[in-house]
């Protein structure tokens, strides 16, 4: 599809699926095919990533009027490598949600079936790719926000190792987990975009530094490629609630692997996986409550000037009441975990359990973790599981699910959260075309290239 015809279709696609929060109206004049790596590729950016050319709203009333004076590093890198950014994509407010419903814009509709939720929080990014209006999209993944909507819309959704892609310009939800991810219809595009973005950024204090990047390259060369590849299935991921259709697809995928001589499949055990939801919902909302404290309406964003903003010595009640209900829930939960008793009893405990979980992953993988330097005990190359527990809920049911019991919505992230907590590279792949049955493959920290290679070999 030419860029021009793609742009001409934007209004219709937007009407059908509510993909964008804003999008371009005309083709850029400087659109010439050249030898830059992403020349001619069209991309969409999740609207919690700062851009100079579009507003950055985070799908929140709080930032409805916000225009960033700078581009995020990832946006700079994409532009430099020749990609065309066609718009900013709809999301669950500040990245908080699993269904794509917690947005001040209309809910995103699933191109596989427009009555379905597409999942969240990178909802519009998944829809932009699934509707083929965009070659790729950037999302952010804190607990599964790239992988889950990719599974629901039957596309590829890759969350790299924490720290490999810069977060400068990514509006923080929970920094110790936030990772920029890539969504596309094929693994080669994922690879290409990753190569563009996989760079050290001195502006991001958590960006993986050059020495460690060099160490990774060295370690990769040491891996013996003639060995059989060992694939682990954690028994803690065996869930009775797993939808039968998804189970079928997952079993088919295992069968396809076993047909090759190259692969062996093993059961593995990572007991900490059982703690992952508790750890996540202790740490992530606490970080979120802290990060969202800056939205007081004084320097940017929404401020109610008609009503007083200091009531009984409490600041900004009026301006901050503009957050949506799910964000408010998490701010309350987060502050509860941060208040002095909660911090010692819950937060510190959760941090310890998180370290314990990382140690368990380190024992299982063959590749050594360059950050922890833990010695491996077993020699598993990849871990596989379904990405999603259920088929996408219907949009009109989705909102009742999340309102009646937010925990139900949180359950959607059960397979994806452990990898987020451990910072591991993981990808959701559409093993069966056009079916919302994601398969998640993950590997040791820093082993991103091998993961993408493996996916390419098995599809």
């Amino acid at each position: 599809m030419s860029l021009k015809s793609m742009i001409s279709q934007l209004p219709k696609v937007q009407k059908d699926f509510n993909i964008f929060t804003s999008y371009i109206k005309d083709a850029p004049i400087t659109n010439r095919i050249n030898d830059t790596p992403l020349s001619g590729k069209v991309g969409a950016i999740k609207d919690n990533i700062a851009t100079k050319d579009f507003p950055t709203t985070c799908a929140s009333n709080v930032l409805k009027t916000y225009n960033s004076p700078f581009d995020a590093t990832v946006v700079e890198l994409l532009k430099k490598d020749g990609a065309i950014i066609i718009g900013k994509t709809n999301l669950d407010e500040f990245g908080m949600g699993s269904l794509g419903l917690h947005t001040i814009f209309e809910p995103v509709r699933n191109p596989l079936n427009d009555n379905w939720c597409i999942g969240g929080s990178s909802s519009g990014s998944a829809a932009a790719v699934a509707s083929r209006i965009s070659d790729f999209a950037l999302g952010t993944d804190t607990g599964g926000s790239v992988r889950l909507p990719s599974a629901y819309s039957a596309i590829y959704g890759f969350k790299p190792s924490y720290g490999r892609i810069s977060r400068w310009g990514v509006v923080a939800f929970a920094q110790s987990l936030d990772t920029v991810g890539i969504l596309a219809n094929d693994i080669d595009t994922i690879k290409k975009v990753f190569q563009t973005l996989d760079k050290y950024d001195p502006r991001d204090p958590t960006s993986l530094n050059v020495e460690l990047r060099d160490l990774l390259k060295e370690n990769l060369l040491k891996v013996n490629t003639s060995d059989k590849i060992k694939i682990g299935i954690p028994k803690e991921f065996i869930q009775n609630e797993l939808a039968p259709e998804i189970k079928q697809t997952f079993l088919k995928y295992i069968e396809s692997l076993l047909k090759h001589n190259k692969y062996d499949v093993y059961p593995v055990s990572l007991p900490s996986i059982r703690d992952s939801l508790s750890i996540y919902y202790t740490l992530a909302p606490a970080e979120a409550a802290s990060n969202l404290a800056k939205y007081d309406g004084i320097r940017y964003g929404t401020r109610d000037t008609k009503k007083p903003d200091i009531i009984d010595g409490d600041f900004y009640n009026t301006s901050r009441s503009n957050f949506g209900p799910e964000v408010k829930n998490r701010i309350i939960l987060g502050n509860y975990n941060l208040c002095s008793e909660g911090y010692q009893n819950n937060f510190i405990k959760a941090q310890q359990l998180r370290v314990q979980m990382i140690d368990q992953f380190d024992k299982i993988f063959k590749f050594k973790n360059i950050l922890t330097k833990n010695e491996p005990i077993y020699d598993i190359d990849f871990i596989i599981s379904p990405t999603n527990l259920n088929l996408p809920p219907l949009i009109h049911q989705g909102s009742t699910i999340s309102e009646s019991n937010p925990l139900k919505e949180y359950m959607n992230d059960i397979f994806t959260i452990p990898m987020s907590l451990a910072g591991l590279p993981s990808i959701s792949i559409p093993f069966v075309n056009s079916k919302p049955h994601g398969i998640q493959i993950c590997t040791q920290y820093g082993n991103d290239e091998k993961l993408l290679e493996f996916v390419k070999d098995t599809m």
Binding site: I49, A50, T56, C58, L63, Y66, S68, P69, F70, A72, R167, W168, G169, V170, V171, A172, A174, Q175, S176, P202, R203, D204, P205, T206, A286, E287, A289, S290, L292, A293, K294, Y295, D296, I298, R299, Y300, D314, F315, Y316, N335, L338, C339, S340, Y343, F347, Q351
Partner: protein
């Protein structure tokens, strides 16, 4: 408020910095200090903006990066210069540096707090323990020696500055507006907390002075209280009265006055037996005349401290500590002791001038001055066995006086015109009576004045002997006493007020003889030593 201000000014004008309130032996004062010190690093703590909080008056919000105003998507990058400065301070006070300290977020909402939290160090501070020792000898306290123990040092961000204006460009109608200037936002601070070791205000005054000098000597802060580079909160408790935290203390005089007031107030509370109902920790503000409650513990905020999830630990190696320790010079007390003993034998007053930097000065710092003195001293005493008092008196009075008058930096003078050995030459010429003291002063001023006129560029090397000859300034070696007597008599005869001479003779106005000597010096163009002229006048007037 205006009245309070006037009182404050008159208070400090009278020079009554120390407590004027009598302390009762029955009621024991206990104080601890919380000191915030702005570090004068080139850049801010977590951004590349220029660190210049004082630019605010003329250019509000000039030194602000995206991070300083907490734009969405921005991140902190630690400025290691601030870590180096903190390390110097910690090591100077023998504080135990934490090899893995951590940044935490302290949450509270306020207009001058753009992130909604301050990045500070709560759970694992930069260093713990340490002390500063005060002494009767150097710090004029009552005890011979008093150790003030430090609880901890932590690195943290400063807030923005709020300006309360009654009519701003934005609000022309009425009411108060609060303008916020983010130049100060994210400026590096060190918070130092002492143990409650102070028991009188002399100790507090001495500690503040000593601490100010320390940060100036280390060149890590301008150390000014009035400008807000150092801000001090005081915890005060009399006997069993619950601790009260005093805030809004802009200078030493208000600190002392507020403690005095609080001492009286708490003593009265104790005497009245009101302690039961009053028993909670309070924060009170000093308004210039009294302290008033800001908040009590019951309504105290929970700051919800959280380890910052993206800033790495400050990891230090023992080698780094050792290397930085090597760069630290002696303590001020040690310098003063050295200067007061062999071979310099300076008075404590002069030794302190060479050691303690009272304010940042464009022309010289105490280190340069001390070095200049020591070098001049060495050069002078090499050739002369005479009394060396002339060295300190010429440097402190003649040289510094002229530098200030002509606005010449000491370093420039030393490098381009008058290195220490040259000044020593001039002093030797005075000592050997080649040139009189008076003429030497004039000569010094003359060459400095020329130096200034020629924009302080490096000139030909000075040779004082040549100059003395050129300007014909040599003292007369073979004095013709008969002609000197004649000359002095002529001066006396020209005095129009005979009573003056009578007063000198009777001893009523003894010092007026200096006036006569001055006339003599002028007559002989300083070539005859003042002492000779004075002796002659005394001889003529029969004064012993």
């Amino acid at each position: 408020m205006l009245r309070a201000k006037t009182q404050l000014i008159s208070h400090s004008l009278k020079g009554k910095w120390y407590s004027t309130v009598a302390k009762s032996a029955e009621y024991k004062l206990t104080c601890g200090l919380e000191i915030h010190t702005q570090l004068n690093t080139v850049n801010k703590l977590f951004s590349a903006s220029t660190n210049n909080p004082f630019e605010s008056i003329s250019h509000p919000n000039l030194n602000t990066s995206y991070f300083d105003i907490a734009l969405p998507g921005t991140q902190p990058i630690l400025n290691y210069e601030a870590v180096l400065f903190a390390l110097k301070l910690a090591l100077s006070m023998k504080s135990n540096v934490n090899l893995n300290s951590q940044f935490d977020r302290k949450h509270y909402f306020y207009g001058d707090q753009p992130q909604g939290y301050q990045i500070t160090q709560h759970y694992h501070p930069f260093s713990t323990g340490g002390y500063l020792t005060l002494s009767k000898e150097f710090d004029s306290i009552k005890d011979t020696e008093k150790k003030i123990n430090i609880i901890q040092l932590q690195i943290e961000q400063d807030t923005a500055r709020s300006l309360h204006v009654h009519q701003s460009p934005l609000n022309k109608t009425s009411g108060e507006d609060i303008l916020i200037d983010f130049n100060r936002s994210n400026v590096p601070l060190i918070e130092l907390v002492t143990e409650p070791d102070f028991h009188d205000t002399l100790q507090i005054k001495a500690f503040i002075k000593k601490y100010q000098n320390l940060v100036r000597q280390l060149k890590i802060s301008t150390g000014d209280l009035e400008a807000g580079s150092i801000r001090i909160d005081v915890n005060v408790s009399v006997n069993e009265h619950p601790r009260v935290e005093l805030k809004n203390l802009p200078n030493t005089s208000s600190i002392i006055a507020a403690i005095d007031y609080e001492y009286q107030r708490q003593m009265q509370v104790l005497k009245d037996g009101r302690i039961e109902e009053d028993a909670h920790v309070e924060t009170r503000a000093w308004d210039g005349t009294k302290t008033t409650v800001l908040r009590s513990k019951e309504s105290a905020m929970d700051y919800r401290y959280m380890a910052d999830p993206e800033l790495p630990l400050i990891t230090l190696d023992n080698d780094v500590l050792e290397e930085v320790a090597k760069t630290l010079s002696k303590s001020a007390d040690e310098y003063i002791k050295d200067l007061m003993s062999e071979p310099y034998h300076l008075s404590m007053k002069d030794a302190k001038i060479l050691t303690i930097q009272n304010e940042f000065n464009d022309l010289y710092n105490n280190e340069e001055l001390r070095q200049y003195y020591v070098d001049t001293f060495k050069s002078y005493t090499k050739d002369s066995t005479a009394s060396s008092k002339i060295v300190i008196s010429w440097i402190l009075h003649e040289l510094l006086g002229n530098l200030k008058k002509l606005d010449i930096p000491l370093k420039l003078l030393s490098d381009n015109l008058l290195p220490p050995n040259k000044l020593a030459n001039l002093l030797t010429l005075i000592h050997t009576k080649v040139i009189s003291n008076a003429n030497a002063k004039q000569l010094l001023f003359h060459i400095l004045d020329e130096f200034k006129t020629s924009r302080c560029v490096k000139l030909e090397e000075i040779d004082f002997m040549t100059l003395v000859k050129k300007y014909d300034l040599q003292t007369t070696n073979n004095i013709d006493y008969a002609s000197l007597e004649e000359g002095c008599n002529k001066i006396l005869s020209e005095i129009k007020k005979p009573t003056m001479i009578e007063d000198i003779k009777s001893g009523k106005k003894k010092n007026s003889i200096k006036y006569l000597v001055g006339l003599g010096m002028r007559k002989y163009q300083g070539k005859i030593e003042a002492q000779e002229i004075e002796t002659m006048f005394k001889k003529i007037l029969h004064i012993k």
